[in-house]
Each structure stands twice: as structure tokens, then as C-alpha cells.
């Protein structure tokens, strides 16, 4: 069965430090991987995607994600966290035109 796992419910990072939000997946076939961010009282907003090619993909607001096929992971990263990055982050996989979301990771950036 297709699945997406975000092992951390919450991640706390000091402002200015690098951040990582973890995601692993289990799908048959080639995965199309996405990260979304959700701010309070808003819908999900697309950050970046991996389709094929370079394992490091860059997205909005300085975020990037690293695709690792052998570890079936797609971790979200940012070199220097901002307080405004505090939000709920969702990893998603799209296969056969169906989208599966992880349960989300709440990111707290501490001033």
C-alpha cells in the first residue's frame, strides 16, 4: 500500500539555525513527491516538488528538499530558519493521479 510517514509531530529550531523536517514514503513505481505548508486558518500552499533529475530540489521561501531513493526519503531543509517559517508542513506523494498526505509536522522557530 502507498503511504507517507512524517515521524515527528513537532520540530523546534532556533532562529538562524538550519532546519530539517523528515518524510519517508512507500510507493510502487516512481514517486512524485511534494511539500506543502499550512499557515493558521489557511489552505495548504505548495512549496516544492520532486519529479525526476537532481536529487536536491529548490522551492519557495528558501526551502529545499533532498530526494534519497535508497532511503525512500524526501526531507525538507532550510539553511537558516526564520520565525515566519513557523507553520504546519505536509509531505505528499502522488502516484496514479492519487495524492497521499502525511499527517504533518508542526515547525516552531524560536526567536
Amino acid at each position: 500500500a502507498q503511504s507517507v510517514a512524517q515521524p515527528e509531530d513537532q520540530v523546534n529550531v532556533a532562529e538562524g539555525n538550519p532546519l530539517t523536517v523528515k518524510c519517508t514514503y512507500s510507493v510502487s513505481g516512481n514517486p512524485y513527491l511534494f511539500w506543502y505548508v499550512q499557515y493558521p486558518n489557511r489552505g495548504l500552499q505548495f512549496l516544492l516538488k520532486y519529479i525526476t533529475g537532481d536529487n536536491l530540489v529548490k522551492g519557495s521561501y528558501g526551502f529545499e528538499a533532498e530526494f534519497n531513493k535508497s532511503q525512500t526519503s524526501f526531507h525538507l531543509k532550510k539553511p537558516s530558519a526564520l520565525v515566519s517559517d513557523s507553520a504546519l508542513y505536509f509531505c505528499a506523494v502522488r502516484v496514479d493521479d492519487k495524492i497521499i498526505f502525511g499527517k504533518g509536522t508542526r515547525l516552531h522557530i524560536l526567536p
Binding site: 512524485y32 511534494f34 506543502y36 486558518n41 489557511r42 489552505g43 495548504l44 500552499q45 505548495f46 516538488k49 519529479i51 505536509f90 502522488r94 502516484v95 496514479d96 493521479d97 492519487k98 495524492i99 498526505f101 502525511g102 499527517k103 504533518g104
Partner: protein, 114 residues
């Protein structure tokens, strides 16, 4: 481009009442989705349309939920009768066809059933 529009933003009803939500997707997006997001959880797909046909409604509680997308553009999601456990945010999203296309979400409708 204009984003996905949803209305209303908030709705409070009593259990056993009915409610309807409306969604207008991004122009040209053939695929439309309705998701239910319960507080603290990820979005759960209720129904997916491709143009005006249903692609996936396997998780839609069909005894009380219904959705339609007449003319392949706007969509309406209805709950009748509502239960307490239906309290959630209902998100509409749209996308171009194809696995490499991201979803674009509206701001959602927050439903409270009392």
C-alpha cells in the same frame, strides 16, 4: 492568476441539520478535490473529480455526504444530516491533470457542528 475560491469561510450548525460548501477552482484546472481536515491531522480525500466525472469517492460517507461538479467547473459538497464528528475544515483543491502537477488549495470552510 486567481486562486481557488471557497465559501463560506465559517459555518456553525446543529447536528442533524444540512450544510453546503461551494468551490470555484482555478480556471483550466480539470481536476478538483474535496478534502476533510480534522484538527491536528493531515487532509483526507473525500472525492476527486476529473472534469465532471468522479475519479475517486471511496472515502466519502455516501449516506450523508454528496458532491457534484456540474459543467466541470464549480463544485458543491453537501452534508445531510450533519453529525458532531463532521466538525472539521473542508478544503477544496484543483490541479492540472498529471502526476507532476501540484494541488492548489482554497482557504477552506471551517464547519462546527454543535
Amino acid at each position: 492568476e486567481a486562486g481557488v475560491a471557497q465559501s463560506p469561510r465559517y459555518k456553525i450548525i446543529e447536528k442533524r441539520q444540512s450544510v453546503a460548501f461551494w468551490c470555484n477552482p482555478i480556471s483550466g484546472h480539470a481536476t478538483l478535490y474535496w478534502y476533510q481536515q480534522i484538527l491536528g491531522q493531515g487532509p483526507k480525500l473525500l472525492i476527486q473529480f476529473q472534469n465532471n466525472g468522479v475519479v475517486d469517492d471511496s472515502q466519502l460517507p455516501k449516506d450523508r455526504f454528496s458532491a457534484e461538479r456540474l459543467k466541470g467547473v464549480d463544485s458543491t459538497l453537501k452534508i445531510q444530516p450533519a453529525k458532531l464528528e463532521d466538525s472539521a475544515v473542508y478544503l477544496c483543491a484543483s490541479s492540472l491533470a498529471g502526476n507532476n502537477s501540484p494541488l492548489h488549495f482554497g482557504n477552506g470552510t471551517r464547519l462546527t457542528v454543535t
